[in-house]
């Protein structure tokens, strides 16, 4: 991890993977299970390679063989349960560090893994000759909770007829969830993939489909794939289902797959994919690297787009017919993103997590180029502004967002409640912003070295990689396919001759953005513009900027760019003006783009030649600019500046100037059909706001009404809207937006004017789409949204119950429309059920405003599994809102249950993120909902309930943070005095009152203790099954010195580090596979040594004077999944150790008794007695490691 910058890629592993076979022989949709094996071909790079660490999660491993010899293995997944104790601490700081430690303990980028295979000693000698080792692993998956997702609709018929399908998914490197592998983006190898599926199904995977062969009974067929291009396991995917196949008519090597009945949609949606291909291949001057490409559209997708080597998995909801307008650009954008990631992300992989920003940046950047080409410069600039604003807002809120290599290591992030050192510990929002920032930084680099050089760099990276990919295995060549920050920068300096180090340092390594405040004065005598640019670099998330900044000044004589130097102390900049403030001459005014326009200059300040000023117009700094200029300047800027970003900025600024002049400027923009439609949409909302501010002086009909009438209504009867045609998309979008904005108008009573409401109701009434070749579902949905916007709080006479009788007349009309639309949706559903979504929102708004009784039951029924996902999300949003407003613990419980049990991963994620966005309470406020049970539940959720889904776990952490903050939740009772440490002697003394109660078998469970380390949870391994096991109170010890209650003080960094270590250790469990007939066991000493060795590899340099770590081990004659619950069951059912059982039960009860006494965990050091106890345990155990690893520990 801590790689030196100038070095090439060094594998963290003592071996190099060259080839992997994945064979899945059986996929059972009924039982949702998968059986298969993998075979990894590895070259040891050290002499005496004696253990191999691989990644595997939730797989049940039956046997491992190395070169046909049975090999013992340990399977341990510390992320299953992050904090092992039934921790009473409930402190997020503690959890985060423990979680980070757990994740890094099995981080493949550091050479670690959940599965440790001991190479049979017969093969050790061969290490000298660098022989190939073949590691063969048989595994199965039963009802996988992550990695693979089964969608099995509950209808009649065979699985194929039901449209049952399965696909792999995950966030970042998650392939270990469905087969054992080296789950790192930096370990490349070639692949052979075989999938045997039902004859009615198709298996789509990475690489080339070589052949499809029937099995002997002709009921199944096997798909053989070969991927000759070295690829990381994390980029391998699979989807199996009764897919309809569409060969792309333009590119026959591209194949599209969709679920039954959707083929016509697929045909339409994919009809422009070839254009994207052509675009990328042209700008990169590089052919698409794989020999084929597959797109698969699946239901219940984890994310909309996920890219894997030579294939992408999309959500089926991206498909649309030719009638749909709004979805079309979105789907195209998704396709373009997926394809960009094929080049950078799949074909070119990354060296480490710290280099991820390069890949995300390049793919995001070339996607931006595609946007610019296809959707136009306006759209592109709008998008950049949007992304920049989003990113800046997040940084200011969160206080920094380092993306780059050094940032990960050097930038302390105590302000974050998650660790950014590892992709799996990130908050999802952070990850999105990370991607955002990455491509913005790429754009900055482009600004610096020009696009031509930029593309040359990409081409260079690609051609190096493709040369390397065609090589047979050579240890160093394949690493050319990995990009790192360093290699990227080197390419840039080679190609452009420019050193962009400072730029990278500023924006990549360093977090935070720049916040500018600008104002100016015009000095008439000197004819000089005195510009003052101040910075805020003290508040969180901001940094000081020093360097050039571009300022554009539009004067009467033209537009002039000035580059100013922002230096330490210079705030003021004098910019000489070109024109005198004379404008008697009727002269056209030249604009930036060379255009010359007539302007009405009467609004101007007579003394000044300045029309408007812009700071950093090209967005070449990651910044937020607040600039002050007069209202007429903003108005000129809005009318005459051709850059959409400037127009949007001026619209935002004009909100503060509710004057007739602003109104006129906005109306003019609305009417101008050359103007970018998103600017016009923005102008609508701004106009509504201005109208509300000008309420008393407003003359004429409500804002936009006459405009709308003129644009969209019939000439002969202005109250009736024209029948829909939607031929001009610009007008379509405007037509959609205007009513929504108009509904925000308010009169003096703060009600929506009657005129406006009737107008909207008329629009709904007269809407006629019969002659339209496009669907009007989005338009109708927005009209419902407009109705929603028009709602104002009901005048409530006392707190009476809302009844039909006292329903307001207008509301009755609105409600009737909503009822009718919602009911019609049942009979004629609209595309993506947009209207249902809007109706649900409207109903929630009616409830919230007190027009109808507040009741979540309607939403709950729409939120059930089996509704379209958009509908579910809308309904859940309403329930979340209800939970907050009504402080309902029943609903909160209902939501949390859904988080745990819903089949759709996206919904689970969505619930948690919506709860985070609209929390039922926050850490700042008191709430009856905030109680101990909730803390426990959430804690459990993030501690062990979400181990199958990185994203979900981070969502849970986020929510916990929002609700309770970083420290101990306030609703919990104050902890007892916590720590007893003896720092001088570096040891912990057992509390004498506890000691006697630790029987021999308890010491067995003590787990690994690394001497000298401060451990927070000594016995964590005992509570492997969180649900079953009571907290192992028997081992609580008090330390010599009292450090203080942990709950109220966050641990110091040093402590955190050590906690990481311990939590790593505590999760080590040993399972040595032994075939039932042959016992392939070493002597207990050997296995101890093995484990110690293993641990030493795991650990950072340990303090001297440590005791040898002990390990709790479990011998399993049965294949075991590392799921806590199943583990517990299986081990108790193991009949070999009935004696231990008994004993253990006793202990179990005992612990329960102790529970009340010792509520709190203590930090402690292991003292020598630990050793004694350990050895005691070993000597006690009947001579073999077996009983040490007795199942009782797993309870």
């Amino acid at each position: 991890m801590n790689r030196k910058k100038d070095k090439g890629f060094e594998s963290p592993r003592p071996f190099k993977l060259t080839h992997q076979v994945v064979c899945i022989n059986n996929i059972n949709f009924q039982r949702k299970s998968v059986i298969g094996f993998v075979e990894l071909t590895i070259f040891p790079t050290v002499v005496n390679l004696n253990r191999i660490k691989l990644n595997s999660k939730q797989c049940r491993i039956y046997r491992v063989r190395v070169n046909d010899l049975e090999a013992p293995f340990i399977y341990n997944d510390p992320t299953l349960e992050v904090c092992h104790h039934e921790s009473k601490q409930r402190n997020l700081n503690y959890f985060s560090s423990a979680y980070t430690a757990a994740v890094s303990a099995v981080d493949p980028d550091a050479g670690h893994g959940e599965l440790v295979i001991k190479v049979p000693s017969e093969l050790w000698k061969q290490g000298d000759e660098m022989n190939v080792l073949k590691v063969y692993i048989e595994f199965s998956l039963d009802q996988p909770k992550g990695g693979l997702h089964f969608v099995v609709p509950d209808v009649e018929g065979s699985m194929a007829e039901r449209g049952a399908h399965v696909f792999s998914f995950g966030y970042q490197n998650s392939t270990r969830f469905w087969f054992p592998c080296v789950d790192s983006y930096s370990e490349l190898c070639t692949w052979k993939l075989e999938f045997t599926v039902d004859a009615s199904m198709v298996a789509v995977s990475c690489g080339d489909l070589v052949e499809t062969v029937y099995t002997h009974d002709m009921r199944k067929k096997t798909f053989h794939y070969v991927l000759p291009i070295p690829t990381a396991a994390s980029n391998i995917s699979l989807s199996v289902g009764p897919f309809e196949i569409l060969v792309d008519p333009y590119m026959h090597e591209v194949t599209h797959f969709c679920l039954p009945q959707l083929l016509p949609l697929l045909k339409h949606s994919m009809s422009y994919l070839h254009e994207i291909f052509e675009f990328y291949e042209e700008i990169l001057t590089c052919r698409y690297p794989y020999s084929c490409f597959k797109t698969v559209f699946v239901d219940e997708a984890y994310v909309q787009v996920s890219s894997y080597a030579s294939m992408s998995i999309f959500s089926t909801n991206l498909l649309h017919s030719a009638m749909i307008i709004d979805q079309t650009p979105l789907t195209r954008q998704c396709l373009a993103q997926a394809l960009a990631q094929q080049f950078f992300g799949c074909f070119i992989s990354r060296m480490s997590w710290a280099d991820e920003w390069v890949l995300k940046g390049i793919s995001g950047y070339i996607y931006g180029l595609y946007l610019k080409k296809t959707f136009g410069v306006n759209q592109y600039r709008h998008w950049i502004k949007e992304e920049l604003d989003k990113m800046v807002e997040y940084e200011l809120k969160m206080g920094g967002l380092p993306v780059g290599s050094n940032g990960h290591l050097t930038c302390p992030t105590p302000h974050l409640h998650f660790s950014i050192k590892h992709p799996h510990t990130l908050s999802w929002k952070y990850y999105k912003m990370f991607q955002c920032k990455a491509h913005l930084v790429m754009r900055l680099i482009e600004n610096r070295i020009s696009m031509e050089f930029m593309l040359q760099v990409f081409n260079k990276l690609l051609s190096l990689a493709s040369t390397a990919s065609s090589q047979k295995y050579q240890s160093h060549m394949w690493s050319q396919m990995l990009v790192s920050t360093h290699s990227f920068l080197k390419s840039i300096s080679n190609v452009s001759g420019k050193d962009i180090g400072p730029l990278i340092k500023q924006w990549v390594d360093q977090s935070a953005v720049v916040k500018f405040f600008g104002s100016f004065a015009f000095n008439r005598k000197r004819n000089v513009l005195e510009l003052e640019i101040r910075q805020d670099y003290t508040s969180s998330g901001t940094q000081k900027y020093v360097g050039p900044i571009k300022v554009t000044v539009q004067e009467l004589d033209g537009s002039f760019n000035h580059t100013l130097q922002i230096e330490e102390n210079s705030l003021k900049h004098d910019i000489p003006c070109h024109s005198k403030s004379r404008r008697n001459k009727k002269k056209k005014i030249p604009l930036m783009n060379g255009e010359e326009v007539d302007m009405d200059l009467s609004a101007m300040d007579a003394d000044s030649p300045l029309l408007w000023i812009r700071i950093d117009p090209d967005m070449s700094i990651l910044r937020k600019v607040e600039f002050e200029q007069a209202d007429f300047m903003w108005q000129y800027q809005l009318r005459y500046e051709r850059d959409v970003v400037a127009q949007e900025e001026s619209i935002l600024a004009l909100e503060k100037f509710p004057t007739p002049a602003s109104r006129l400027a906005l109306t003019d923009i609305l009417e101008q059909d050359q103007c970018f439609y998103k600017v016009r949409q923005g102008a609508c909302f701004c106009l509504a706001k201005i109208a509300n501010s000008m309420m008393s002086t407003w003359t004429g009909p409500p804002a936009m009404k006459s405009l709308f009438t003129r644009m969209f209504c019939c000439k002969s009867c202005p109250n009736i809207v024209k029948t829909n045609t939607f031929i001009s998309f610009q007008s379509y979008f405007l037509q959609k937006t205007m009513p929504v904005a108009m509904a925000q108008l308010r009169d003096i009573q703060n009600l929506c004017p009657k005129d406006v409401l009737n107008f909207i109701l008329d629009l709904i009434k007269y809407n006629d789409n019969r002659k339209n070749k496009f669907s009007d579902n989005y338009y109708r949905a927005e009209l419902i949204d407009a109705l929603t916007n028009s709602l104002t709080p009901a005048i409530s006479i006392s707190n009476e119950v809302r009844t039909v009788d006292n329903l307001n007349g207008d509301v009755r009309l609105i409600l009737e429309e909503i009822t009718r639309s919602l009911n019609m949706e049942k009979l004629l559903p609209s595309y993506r059920n947009t209207i249902t979504v809007s109706c649900l929102r409207a109903i929630r708004m009616l409830q919230k405003n007190g027009h109808i009784p507040s009741d979540p039951s309607l939403f709950k029924s729409y939120a059930e599994y089996g509704h379209f996902v958009d509908v579910r999300v809308a309904a859940l949003e309403a329930v979340v809102d209800y939970t907050r407003v009504d402080r309902s613990s029943v609903e909160l419980q209902w939501l949390l249950n859904m988080v745990q049990n819903d089949p759709a991963h996206y919904i689970r994620h969505k619930i948690l993120s919506m709860l985070g966005k609209n929390p039922p309470f926050t850490k700042a406020a008191e709430s009856p909902l905030c109680n101990e049970a909730l803390v426990d539940q959430l804690w459990k959720l993030m501690n062990s309930g979400t181990s199958h889904d990185w994203r979900l776990r981070c969502d849970a952490v986020n929510l916990y943070y929002t609700l309770f903050g970083l420290t101990r939740p306030s609703c919990l009772p104050l902890p007892e005095l916590g720590l007893v440490l003896n720092l001088k002697e570096k040891k912990a003394v057992l509390n004498p009152t506890i000691k006697p109660e630790q029987g021999p078998d308890t010491t067995e469970m003590t787990g690994i203790t690394m001497g000298g380390l401060i451990t927070m949870e000594t016995v964590s391994s005992v509570s492997m099954s969180s649900g079953v096991a009571p907290p192992p109170q028997g081992l609580k010890r008090k330390l010599d010195s009292v450090v203080g209650p942990l709950g109220s003080s966050s641990p110091e960094p040093g402590q955190v580090l050590q906690e990481e270590d311990t939590s790593k250790k505590f999760k080590i469990r040993v399972r040595i596979s032994s075939a039932e007939d042959e016992i392939d066991m070493e002597s207990p000493h050997d296995s101890q040594a093995f484990i110690h060795h293993h641990l030493n590899i795991l650990e950072r340099p340990s303090t001297p004077g440590k005791e040898p770590p002990a390990v709790d081990q479990a011998v399993l004659s049965l294949p075991v999944t590392p799921l806590p619950s199943s583990f517990g069951k299986e081990s108790t059912s193991s009949s070999k150790h009935s004696g231990d059982h008994h004993h253990h039960h006793h202990h179990h009860e005992h612990k329960k008794k102790k529970k009340k006494k010792h509520k709190h965990k203590h930090k402690h050091k292991h003292e020598s007695k630990d050793k004694e106890r350990d050895s005691h345990a070993f000597s006690n155990s009947p001579a073999s490691g077996r009983s040490v690893r007795s199942p009782s520990m797993s309870d």
């Binding site: 499809t212 062969v213 090597e253 009945q261 239901d299 993506r832």
Partner: protein, 308 residues
């Protein structure tokens, strides 16, 4: 014997499609019966002439039938000939041509007519010719214009050609039309949704009056994405109507075809062991035959034994 029955059957068939049988005796039937009786007399007298002393009733009946058919045919043909030459009354020559056409030697007719033993038969009793029921008189019956000779057929009854406007002038005021269409649609929708709500499960927004604003209950579906993504039939229909002239239409009608056909290939999939979707490419087989895509290749039969 079943004679009366036979007679009745044959009789009614000859007489026409009155279907009433002999039980009824309308003037038209009386007329027919009288004629028929005369024919029977003719047949009997001819038989007598030929030397028969008695004849079974059935035989007489058959012969009567034959003679009637013959005479009818002569009449029909003669009329056809006359109409062919644009006249309405058959002339002698028409009859002659008819007889020749029917294979009758006309020359023998005068001789036969003048034979000695011929019996004279009394004329049939005078009965009123049946009254043709008057057709509904609609409008003025038109007479021939001057350039059409009067012997040409008269115009048919006016009701066969005149048109009578039965609708009011449509309201062409745009505003009213739109107003009407909108309220009509709204009423239909409201009625339909009310009906659906009344007949099925509902959810309510109010606790005091659950019938106010009834909402059709949300029902989860097992494959929710299908209804949410696929265009509804109504939309498809609209689409076809709106751009039947446009190019898009091709694919769209193709689309509908797929929707309609889907069920079958789906059902077959299991049995036929085709790659799913294999059905689809085969529609465009000609095009895609040359496409070499691994997913379109046939599935191979298992090899004899793969090593382990």
């Amino acid at each position: 014997m079943a004679d009366p029955a036979v007679m009745a059957g044959g009789f009614s068939a000859v007489v026409g499609r009155s279907g009433g049988g002999k039980a009824t005796s309308s003037p038209a039937e009386n007329y027919q019966l009288a004629r028929r009786r005369t024919l029977q007399v003719v047949v009997s007298s001819l038989l007598t002439e030929c030397g028969f002393e008695s004849a079974e009733k059935a035989a007489v009946e058959s012969l009567t039938e034959m003679i009637q058919s013959y005479i009818s045919e002569v009449g029909r043909c003669a009329k056809a000939y006359c109409e062919h030459t644009a006249r309405i009354t058959p002339t002698l020559s028409d009859t002659v041509v008819t007889l020749i056409e029917m294979g009758f030697n006309v020359n023998t007719l005068p001789v036969y007519a003048k034979r000695s033993q011929r019996m004279v038969i009394t004329a049939p009793p005078v009965t009123n010719a049946p009254v043709i029921p008057k057709a509904l008189i609609a409008g003025q019956k038109r007479t021939h214009p001057s350039h059409i000779p009067s012997h040409f057929p008269e115009f048919p009854d006016p009701h066969t050609y005149i048109k009578t406007p039965t609708f009011r002038e449509p309201v062409s005021d745009y505003q009213v039309v739109r107003e009407k269409a909108a309220s009509q649609r709204r009423d239909v929708e409201r009625a339909l949704t009310r009906f659906m709500a009344k007949t099925g499960e509902t959810q309510s927004l109010f606790k005091d009056d659950i019938t106010a604003f009834p909402l059709i209950a949300a029902r989860p579906s097992s494959i929710p994405y299908l209804s949410a993504l696929l265009p509804s039939e109504l939309e498809l229909q609209t689409l076809e109507e709106t751009d039947s002239s446009e190019q898009d239409d091709q694919t769209d009608s193709e689309n509908t075809l797929y929707f309609l056909n889907y069920d079958d290939p789906g059902a077959d999939k299991e049995n036929s062991m085709l790659p799913p979707g294999g059905v689809v490419p085969s529609v465009k087989a000609s095009e895609e035959n040359m496409i070499d895509n691994p997913y379109l290749r046939p599935v191979k039969k298992p090899k004899v034994r793969r090593k382990k």
